[in-house]
Amino acid sequence: MQHQTDEIDDASGGPAPQTPVLRVAGVSKAYGATIALNSVTLEVLSGEVHALLGENGAGKSTFVKVLSGIVRQGGGALSLDGTPYEPRSLMDARRSGVSTAFQELSLLPNLTVAANLTLPHPLKGGLGLASRSRNEARAVELLHQFDAADISPRSIVSRLSLAQKQRIEIIRAISHRPRLLVLDEPTAALAEPEWLFRIVEQLAASGMATLYISHRLSEVRRLCNKGTILRNGDSIGPIAIAETSDNEIFRMMVGKRSEERRQVASGSSVVRDVAIEVSGLTGESIHDVGFSLHKGEVVGVAALEGQGQRELFRILGGVARPLRGTISLEGSLVNLKSPGQALAAGAGIAFVPEERKSEGIFLTQSTCANVTLPLLNRLSRFGLVSSRREYAVAADQIQRVQLAERLLRLRISALSGGNQQKALIMRVLLSGARSLILFDPTRGVDVGTKQTIYEVIHRFVQDGGSVLIYSTELPELVKLSHRCLVLYRGRVAGELSGENLSEEGLVALATGHNIEEIRSRETA
């Protein structure tokens, strides 16, 4: 469903139709069965800074990859200044006039600033060889031109601060004099975003088109007149940013789904005994995180990418160690040094990590061997594992996760992603742990598997277990959790429960907006 707002008059008001620098018409992209982009349509005019907004998983990063020539679109058409644009590689895109400052930064830590700025073709001196002095001169020129003269061209990039690296990444993208500049979350690490705004405005005035991808609405309002919203791979827009309220934007990002009734919270009984209590937990990316998880309760964690949720879950799973803070299980302090200890501590914590393939399963082993792993002590006699007993235990449990019995004998690598995930969940159930720490358990699995996983979680908490779940899909959290914590920049930005637990509320908190402020503005 494509929700199209009314055409907006061009800010210039000129009657002559201008050929847009970038025109995207119905672009789609699927990875196997997963549809990343369904249909994206947008236009960016010369001199325009166009905002692209969307939740995690809405397709922003796939769209950036298509624009930068890293992946090719499945369908639809792109054109640049009126001519078809189908970049086959990053360099191809750059030659056509599109350059990208990547969110994950594409700088080489072992090279100097000057070498990074001139990659992949260093400037040559008299002998046809790269000339350090010419490269450094070029770097100095760029750094001065773009107001970053405090960075030495001779510095090794690994020694720079994150903010300095981000500035170099942006300067490198700009230095190719693109027709279209793609900025992917460019201010994530910048302490002083005004620096970027000045440069972008200056270049826009000279006719460059910019696609500005950010989740910070205040910045988008500061810089962009028009924007497009991505939701589940579909584009909505163009919208006039100034005339659209924050709440309307959140609603567009979230869509109709938010009206779905929540099922879990009302239905089950929350027993008030505390299963896990965390306080003052501080690590490399989290600060002073505290909360409690009760028996019979599902607590959701919502956050945009990289707000510390990964570290929090890994600490609770015993994979990472906190710098400070305490974790107590049923009232007694524990020190989780390994996943094994987490399983053994108190009533047990079982962790389902995010990287299924690299952290969760043993690809070369059978499904059966994978799921019975935590039981090996119980299954073995005199240190030897009886494969018959192993199979019997697994077969007994298998209907709980609706996995076909014949799959037990197969190598787990032969299973679909959804079935692998079911097997992994079955394994944590078999482990007997009473608390589950699930990091994005439904990522990349099909709808049926999702439903199974929901049911398993349901039954688990009804039996008195407790679940902490992070998901990139907000509707899932709204549906499953009794309460939902929101992490922003490594801190708990807020907690929503009951009637207040809505996708709009989660998006607002996750993008750093004060929820009280939004409510009061709404009532005013």
């Binding site: 890293i70 990053l90 360099m91 750059r94 990547f102 994950e104 930064l105 594409s106 700088l107 080489l108 830590p109 072992n110 090279l111 070498a115 990074n116 990659l119 992949p120 073709h121 260093p122 060889l129 790269a130 000339s131 001779r154 020694r159 490198r172």
Partner: protein, 332 residues
């Protein structure tokens, strides 16, 4: 105020140069070399004449060449085990197939380079385009080459032509060791390669493949070329080994495998890729060879040599690690 600022900046640059100086693995190992050489001179006596210098250079060069090639691959983040097979294969080919005289010697040199290049290209294709693990692919090519070497010459023997054995190992015009000259040429060539887009790409790929490709670096081509270049170096190492030993053996390359990695580690190149360089590895190789000679002249039984080589590797890695962490620590 402005005077204060500029003073501060110059302090920083001084500090930075100290850090670069400490973090440079080649420099650390060079200092170790000078110290060991002093010990060697004391134990041996006459070491500064042309002939002893020439002998030392001849003994050092094969390992130094191999280590230089292995380093290029290591910088991209790969391991190249094929060195042992290539050296053996080249050695038996030179000892059995190449006649006397300058033209034949030239053909032998070309053959050595071609064998190395061919194996390197296979390695590069398997790792870059076939996406196979470097250790597994190069282990396979090493085994194939060792097998081929046995097919060519099944037991030590053969004869390296006098022209090669003499001209590649005697001082040039009676004044400068040929092996030393070749080493200098390799160093100069590396300085040239390092100053090309390919040279920068080697370091970029080794540090972070994803970032490198996002920065527009042709990752696959860079890897392929790095293995090919490494192969050429092993071929040259095999040629020089044949000239020095003047005989053939199907297992001539075997000792080079572990010593090459030791030389690379001693020279300060990171086994994770992206940091270091062939020059450090060449000095590292020289250090290992000098250690052998110094221990021999000090009367230590050759049985102990290997133990000392391992010990000095630990020492060099420790010293390199400590000075690198001091260098990094200053900046934090």
């Amino acid at each position: 105020m402005s005077a204060f600022v500029s003073r501060k900046v110059s302090d920083q640059t001084a500090d930075r140069s100290i850090r670069l100086w400490l973090g440079n693995g080649a420099l650390v190992v060079s200092i170790l070399y000078v110290l060991l050489f002093a010990f060697y001179a004391a134990a041996q006596g006459d070491v500064f004449g042309l002939q002893p210098m020439n002998d030392l250079a001849n003994d050092t060069l094969p390992l130094a060449l191999a280590a230089a090639g292995g380093t290029v691959v290591m910088l991209t983040g790969g391991f190249d085990l094929s060195v042992a097979g290539v050296i053996s294969l080249v050695n038996v080919c030179i000892a059995t197939q190449i006649g006397d005289g300058p033209l034949n010697a030239l053909w032998g040199l070309l053959l050595a380079i071609l064998i190395g290049l061919a194996v390197g290209m296979v390695n590069g294709a398997l790792v870059a385009f076939g996406k196979l693990q470097s250790i597994a692919s190069t282990l396979a090519t090493m085994i194939v080459c060792s097998g081929l070497a046995i097919v060519v010459l099944d037991a030590p023997g053969g004869n390296v032509s006098d022209f090669i054995a003499d001209n590649a190992t005697d001082p040039i015009l009676g004044v400068f060791p040929a092996a030393g000259a070749i080493a200098l040429v390799i160093v100069l060539l590396w300085l040239v390669v390092r100053s090309t887009a390919f040279g920068v790409a080697i370091y970029a790929v080794g540090a972070d493949e994803t970032a490198a490709s996002l920065a527009g670096v042709p990752v696959l081509r860079t890897k392929f070329l790095a293995y090919s270049l490494g192969g050429i170096c092993y071929g040259l190492a095999g040629f020089m080994l044949s000239a020095v030993t003047a005989t053939g053996s199907p297992s001539a390359g075997t000792p080079f495998l572990l010593l090459m990695f030791a030389a690379i580690a001693i020279g300060g190149t990171s086994f994770a890729g992206g940091y270091g360089g062939p020059i450090g590895s060449m000095v590292g190789a020289a250090l290992l060879v000098l250690l052998q000679k110094a221990l021999f002249s000090a009367g230590v039984s050759s049985f102990y040599t290997v133990i000392f080589q391992g010990a000095i590797m630990i020492l060099a890695v420790l010293v390199g690690g400590i000075s690198a962490s001091i260098a990094a620590g200053r900046s934090r």
